[in-house]
Symmetry: C2
Subunit: 144 residues, 2 copies
DNA sequence: ATTTATGCAAATCGTTTGCAAACCT
DNA sequence: AGGTTTGCAAACGATTTGCATAAAT
């Protein structure tokens, strides 16, 4: 079994990138979070990190497949660790009112049915599928 | 059976809004399209429409539930007619490279399984679900 | 006559970028 | 040394907004 940071360092090295202090700071923050975080939330948790560095490093981490950008209903991008690092396949509850994002899962049988249907759809449309998003949009507990 | 424009006019009237010329122009463009359109694509198809009017009217139409905003991988918002007007439940193929959005459907049985799983997830999380998004993210034919 | 919509131009604000200093290896 | 990363401040660009005019009721 491989340590999370070793795994990330390896992925970065594979594309000629370094695992710098700031990048590790970002990973630590995302790992501790229970839901995708906005840039501002990341900055609030680590005040030493410059905003521009957060943007630049998140871009690198996203291109490398280490973090995943989540689009919500508001104007803020949110980030979470990539699923192949967390081993936790999940989907998102997106609040239309406040933009908050929470995680949820569905039963494995449902995932199986879904995977089959998506594979067929991709084939039918000559589309090279890399990922899928299954989001529930509505009102979170606090906003409803 | 009700005409599309009558139905939209009624919905707008219901929230104290008028069905103006510009709003009808936007609906006509969206109705003729086979996939969600960006603001720029809408403007290109009707050069008399001012950009600010497009933004303002799309906001009104979205709040009224007449059009639906689709978030892709690029920085441009895309719009389509709401599903309850088109009677055509569908999902989106989103190209990670160029941001293009195409429609696809899955078998009714799959939709049923999905609906059940989502209902349960919403209940488990005290979330008031209004809509779901099932998107396939990858590379379109032209970009792969 | 009043309210609402329009078009233009300017402002907004999350994000991106230029640059010089600090950091690796 | 030779390259990359960093932080600051300035620039960018999709979207929003102020305001005077036009349209709708």
């Amino acid at each position: 079994m491989v340590d999370l940071h070793d795994e990330i360092a390896g992925k970065l090295r594979g594309v000629g990138q370094r695992y710098t202090t700031n990048r590790r700071v970002i990973i630590d923050v995302l790992e501790a979070a229970t839901h995708p975080l906005t840039i501002q939330e990341i900055l609030d948790r680590r005040t030493t990190l410059a905003q521009s560095s957060a943007y630049r490093n998140l871009a690198v981490l996203e291109e490398t497949g280490v973090v995943h950008r989540v689009v919500s209903s508001d104007e803020f991008a949110r980030y979470e660790l990539a699923e192949d690092l967390t081993e936790h396949h999940h989907h998102h509850l997106i609040c239309r009112s406040c933009g908050a994002v929470a995680d949820f899962t569905v039963a494995p049988e449902v995932e199986l049915v879904l995977a089959g249907a998506l594979e067929q759809a991709a084939g039918d449309n000559e589309f090279s599928a890399e990922d899928h998003r299954l989001d529930l949009v509505g009102r979170c507990r606090r906003c409803r």
